[in-house]
């Protein structure tokens, strides 16, 4: 029990400070790396979203939805709304899939085919499954 509490306290120090718990929606054990063509972008708060057509081995196309940082944060990590990501761009996204296995994911990094740049697009996965177990029982 002591060990569990100590581990919880360590995890509680995670610096995510995100707008909501990552692990409620996404699965830290389901990393995905997908390449496709951007179809649209929503520059909105509290998250930006982008949509991407991904072709599988049989040529079937699926449209994926990715969540990421709000525009204010993207701006500070090097994104420019008018040039960084545009519809038609080919990109490779690393992130984690939604817990229900749909084509919806949390994005962490995007690599752009047009210039080779890799930019951060969303926060880390954190604890991965919906919040840290609270240190209940601690004095």
């Amino acid at each position: 029990m002591k060990l569990i509490i100590a581990a919880s306290l360590l995890l509680a120090a995670s610096p995510a400070f995100a707008h909501h718990s990552f692990g409620a929606e996404y699965d830290g054990n389901k990393p995905v790396t997908l390449t496709g063509v951007i179809t649209s972008i929503q520059w909105t708060n509290p998250h930006f979203y982008f949509f991407m057509d991904v072709k599988d081995q049989n040529g079937n196309v699926a449209n994926w939805k990715f969540e990421g940082y709000p525009p204010v944060v993207l701006n500070r990590v090097g994104w420019k709304k008018t040039e960084t990501m545009l519809p038609g761009d080919t990109v490779t996204v690393f992130g984690w899939q939604a817990r229900d296995g749909t084509n919806w994911a949390h994005s962490r990094f995007v690599t752009f085919a047009k210039n080779g740049k890799k930019l951060e697009s969303g926060p880390p996965a954190g604890n991965g499954d919906g919040g840290n177990r609270p240190p209940v029982g601690a004095p």
Binding site: A12, S21, E25, P46, G130, G131, P139
Partner: protein
Amino acid sequence: MRNRFLASVVIALAVLPMSQYAGAQNKKLAPPVPRAADGHPDLSGVWQPGSDKPGTWEEANQGVGVPEPGRGDNVRKGANPPYQPWAAKLVLEAYNRRNIDDYVARCIPELDLGAGSLYPNQFVQTPKLIVILIESRHVFRLIPLNEKHPEDLDPAWLGDSVGRWEGDTLVVDVAGFKERLVGSKINTDALHIVERFKRVDYNTIEYSATVEDPKALTRPYTITSKYMLRPGTRLQEYVCENNQDPDHFEALDKKGLINRNDK
């Protein structure tokens, strides 16, 4: 031998002005703590909470929004509320709902208490009032100096703040909070916070918050953090106009993917 001597002289001549230059640069980079006309330290400026690295936003964060968990030391420490059993039970219930019911997930603001390193805060100081503009969720704090809380306090998400100078430390007393009885952070209307902001050098504000809530905690506890000056950073608009998370939570909940049963 002569060549070696000459080489030493050349290197010494080359290095000397550089070291003088570096000294001048260091002085230039770290001027004394500025003072307002009334003699108090001037806290005006744009600051990043939860950091201890000087420099511009880009220099301090190296293009990264937040570090990976476990990488580097956390500047903010002590945020482990000692809950009474009933409050601990609610926090565990929220955890078992994967914290989807947290107010913050619906973009309701809270006092960050030295956290929130993704978003800058701007301090505006006048002799009678200090204003803190917080980019995240686009909120502000008004901190009148040497005044009392209103007698008929209307409970607020950020509480009511009044400040005073104790020497070079700005002390802010915050009371009048709305209750939060659902989610990963529990507080009653008895929540009372005393914050201390001390600009210890040109680039750094040392911060502490002592939190007491006799109805929900077994004892007060103290959070410490830092705010670092971020020259050149401008606050931008962050308003939750497209919050899709609650709908996503609901969809996952209907599929039975939210609840768990940790005891």
